[in-house]
Subunit: 335 residues, 2 copies
């Protein structure tokens, strides 16, 4: 039985709630905390009680919640600017953290989080990120194919995130709370680039603009990041909030990976592969991935390694914040 | 009756040959010149004589050909490194130039070509580029739609050129003769970016690698260029020679344009549009463009303006050579 507490519900904490609801014998949720004014825990509480869980206690102070309830796992899904300090508070108490991205919205906060994680790691404390798209069947299937050599050695990666802007809450309207579109949206595409390639970033340059953001404050509506990776592998990600309201899905997630033996592409929830195999051009049958939160919990039990490591989570955050810095400054940055 | 001479047949001079063959009453081809050792004019001559044209005289020296034959139009399609000096030789003689890209393989050569063009322009001499993909029905159709406001104000452009590498001639094996993959292949994608947007480039950064180039010397197999355009419009182009031999087409040309009112995309020879219109997501019926060489010739007659201007041809070359310089140096460059 794992004791799980929640702070906030701004992003993808539903990925934890759904696994908990499906496994009532394995989890208890003694308490939740909104973490910021204007954030409601109502939906989380409603989903849990609908499945027969007792209504969790609601705390106003998350540190008090951690001290009183001593959970095994903290789900951090608050204002993005607060993720780092909340994660640090948990790690320092020996509590595993399942954190919405971005883990930090400034490089200074990230430094502190990394330091806290290094100490906590020695005591066997885990940290993982809600890089939820890795567990989309299309990305999961493409990853398996690439691991099995479908495209040979990877030479170029082209990622895309495109969202409908909609009218977003105040969290998104200011860099102070939001952190920027590159770390919030772009990190998924960066994840595909670095997870698939297994490479580190040597240099990054980026451009962005808040024009045409549907009146969402300073939220950037467009961004493109260019990466020189190790071994002369090249990559880019393009990000936008310009997907029309009439589009059939909220997002248009894509990755295209060109290697020495073929090209694989995820687009429209499908996986397309062209290589020298007998079939030439083919659409791969989709495989069913595990659930992200379940993967995380099983790694805590030592049953298996989590697909998303703490090192990846923190490093990818660093790359995104550095890309953001490049876009802000107009400078190419070595990492 | 227009008198047309040819130098070389390394690229897309076939776009002139086919129009000439279809209009025997309008053209004569008195002479051709290979322009470099190892280049054969056999196919050009064969196509012309098959249509009843007299066999053109073959010159070893292109300057002699220009002086003796005094053509109205010179088609320049030689070794890429020689395009600039051949074009200059024609412009200085008052001969219109229909030139394969890149017009120059160094910024120094480009400066000289621009100076020659400025002088020639005063005498009504024209220069245009074989930006052949503008006349592909899919790009032509997308351009018309964008001009008619299909995506509103353009905010981001993402271009792609992907080719099969094959085993290429020695021309491609050295930077000295080839000029680089960004100016040779990338210029088409850059053309879509700048032609559709109508913007100029403020900064460029680029990455590239010759690894995995199928043993084609120093030819770059991958490249990505990132552009900050005017008015905070952002753009990138990714270029590769990694398209598998089993793919159904030689190239995988794409442009995706996201604007304030919609997203349009050319991919797989189709045009996809999503905007707020009644149809939401739609595939546009393809329109039939004019032929590029015919467009050029009609502009010489004053019948209409050529879709491709000399200013675009030369400026796009400058942007590509600057991107190449960025990739070579690892520096972000202001333009």
């Amino acid at each position: 039985m794992k004791k799980v507490c929640f702070i906030g519900s701004c992003g993808h904490s539903g990925s934890a709630v759904s696994v908990i609801c499906d496994n009532p014998a394995k989890f208890e949720v003694p308490a939740v905390c909104a973490g910021a004014a204007g954030v409601s825990m109502e939906k989380v509480v409603k989903n849990l009680t609908a499945k027969g869980f007792p209504a969790p206690k609601e705390y106003l102070d998350y540190q008090e919640m951690l001290d009183q309830e001593k959970p095994d796992i903290l789900v951090v899904d608050a204002y993005f600017c607060d993720h780092a300090k909340m994660s640090i508070a948990a790690l320092e108490r020996g509590i595993h953290v399942y954190c919405e991205k971005p883990a930090a919205t400034t490089l200074e906060d990230l430094d502190q989080l990394e330091a806290a994680y290094r100490k906590a790691k020695e005591k066997g404390v885990h940290f993982a990120y809600m890089l939820t798209t890795r567990y989309d069947p299309w990305f999961y299937t493409a990853y398996q194919a690439v691991q099995q050599g479908a495209v040979g050695e990877i030479r170029m990666l082209n990622g895309q995130k495109s969202y409908k802007a909609g009218k977003r809450g105040v969290l998104y309207h200011q860099r102070d709370t939001y952190g920027g579109t590159i770390p919030w949206v772009g990190i998924h595409a960066l994840d595909w680039v670095l997870w698939f390639s297994g490479k580190r970033v040597k240099t990054v340059s980026a451009v962005q603009s808040a024009i045409a953001n549907n009146n969402n404050g300073s939220m950037e509506a467009t961004a493109i990041c260019l990466f020189q990776l190790e071994d002369e592998v090249v990559a880019h990600i393009n990000i936008d909030y310009l997907r029309p309201q009439t589009a059939s899905t909220h997002g248009d997630d894509r990755i295209r990976i060109a290697g020495t033996k073929g090209v694989i592409e995820v687009r429209g929830g499908q996986v397309y592969l062209i290589n020298g195999g007998a079939q030439g051009e083919q659409t791969l049958p989709l495989q069913q991935p595990p659930k992200i939160f379940q993967d995380f919990v099983e790694s805590l039990n030592g049953e298996k390694a989590c697909t998303i490591t703490a090192e990846q989570s923190l490093y990818f955050t660093r790359v995104c914040l550095t890309a953001q810095k490049s876009a802000d400054s107009g400078l190419l940055i070595e990492m």
